[in-house]
C-alpha cells in the first residue's frame, strides 16, 4: 500500500463515519456535527483528486454557510425535543433500498472497463477552469446567478413573518 492509498483510506474512513453519523445519530445536534465532519472530509477527497479550487469552495460553502444554516434551522424548529421520533417505521425498508443500491452500483463499478487512463490523476489548473467557465459556460453561469437570486428572494419571502401574525 502506497502512502497515497493510506491517506485515501484515512480520508475515506472519515467521510464514511461522518455520513453514517448523519443518518444514524440519535441526537439531531450530533447529526449536524457529523455532517460537518463528512463535508470537510469530502473537501479532503477533492484535494486527493487534485481539485484544489473545489476543495476550497467546499470548505467555504459547506463548512461555513451550509452547516451554520442547518444548525440555525435546527434551533428554530426545536427538533431536539423529540429524540424518539427521529426515525420512521420504514427503517428496514430504507436499509434494504440503500443496500440494494450500494450492491448494484459497486457491481457496476467493478465490472466496467473504463476507457482511458484509470490510475493517473491529471491536475486541471484553476486558470483553465476560469477560462472555460466564463467563456464556454457563460450562459449557464449567468443562469446559476439568477437561480441564486431567486432562491434568496424566495427564502426571504417564505421565512419572514406576515403582517398581523
Amino acid at each position: 500500500m502506497t502512502v497515497e492509498e493510506g491517506v485515501f483510506y484515512v480520508i475515506a474512513g472519515a467521510t464514511v463515519i461522518g455520513a453514517l453519523g448523519v443518518v444514524v445519530a440519535r441526537n439531531v445536534v450530533h447529526a449536524a456535527l457529523f455532517l460537518i465532519l463528512a463535508l470537510l472530509a469530502v473537501a479532503g477527497v477533492f484535494l486527493l483528486l487534485a481539485a484544489d479550487f473545489l476543495a476550497i469552495v467546499q470548505i467555504l460553502i459547506y463548512g461555513g454557510a451550509v452547516t451554520i444554516l442547518v444548525l440555525f434551522a435546527m434551533m428554530l424548529t426545536r427538533a431536539r425535543d423529540m429524540p424518539q421520533a427521529l426515525d420512521g417505521p420504514q427503517r428496514p425498508l430504507a436499509a434494504l433500498a440503500a443496500a440494494a443500491f450500494l450492491g448494484t452500483s459497486i457491481l457496476a463499478i467493478v465490472s466496467t472497463e473504463w476507457p482511458g487512463e484509470t490510475e493517473v490523476i491529471t491536475r486541471i489548473p484553476i486558470e483553465d477552469i476560469g477560462e472555460v467557465l466564463f467563456r464556454d459556460w457563460a450562459v449557464p453561469f449567468e443562469v446559476a446567478s439568477l437561480v441564486l437570486l431567486v432562491a434568496l428572494v424566495g427564502a426571504i419571502i417564505l421565512a419572514r413573518s406576515e403582517e398581523g401574525e
Binding site: V42, A51, I106, T122
Partner: protein, 102 residues
C-alpha cells in the same frame, strides 16, 4: 497512484447512506442533510471522472461547481419552507405534514 474504483466506491457508499437517511428519517432538517450527502456523492463522481478519464475537457469540474451552487440555493430555500411549516404546524416531522395529501 489510487485506482479510479476507490473513489467511485466511496461515492456509492456515501450516496447509499444518503438514500437510507432520506427514507428512514422523519425530521425535515435531517432529510435535507441526507440530501446534501447525496449531492456530495454526485460531486465526487463528477470530479473523479473529470480528472481520470477526460482531463482535456473540464465538464466534470464545471458540473461539480454547478452542483455545489444549486445545492446551496436548494438548501436555503428548503430550510425556509421548513421554517414556514414549523410556524404553521409546530412540527418539522414530515409524517405530520400531510395537508397536500388525500
Amino acid at each position: 497512484m489510487i485506482p479510479i474504483n476507490h473513489f467511485l466506491v466511496l461515492s456509492a457508499i456515501i450516496f447509499s447512506l444518503g438514500i437510507y437517511g432520506v427514507l428512514a428519517r422523519r425530521s425535515a432538517v435531517l432529510i435535507l442533510m441526507s440530501v446534501e450527502l447525496m449531492l456530495q456523492a454526485a460531486a465526487i463522481n463528477f470530479i473523479t471522472f473529470a480528472v481520470y478519464l477526460a482531463p482535456g475537457e473540464f465538464r466534470g469540474l464545471i458540473f461539480a461547481i454547478f452542483v455545489i451552487t444549486i445545492a446551496a440555493a436548494e438548501l436555503g430555500l428548503a430550510l425556509a419552507i421548513v421554517l414556514r411549516i414549523y410556524r404553521n404546524k409546530v412540527t418539522a416531522n414530515v409524517d405530520e405534514v400531510d395537508m397536500m395529501k388525500w
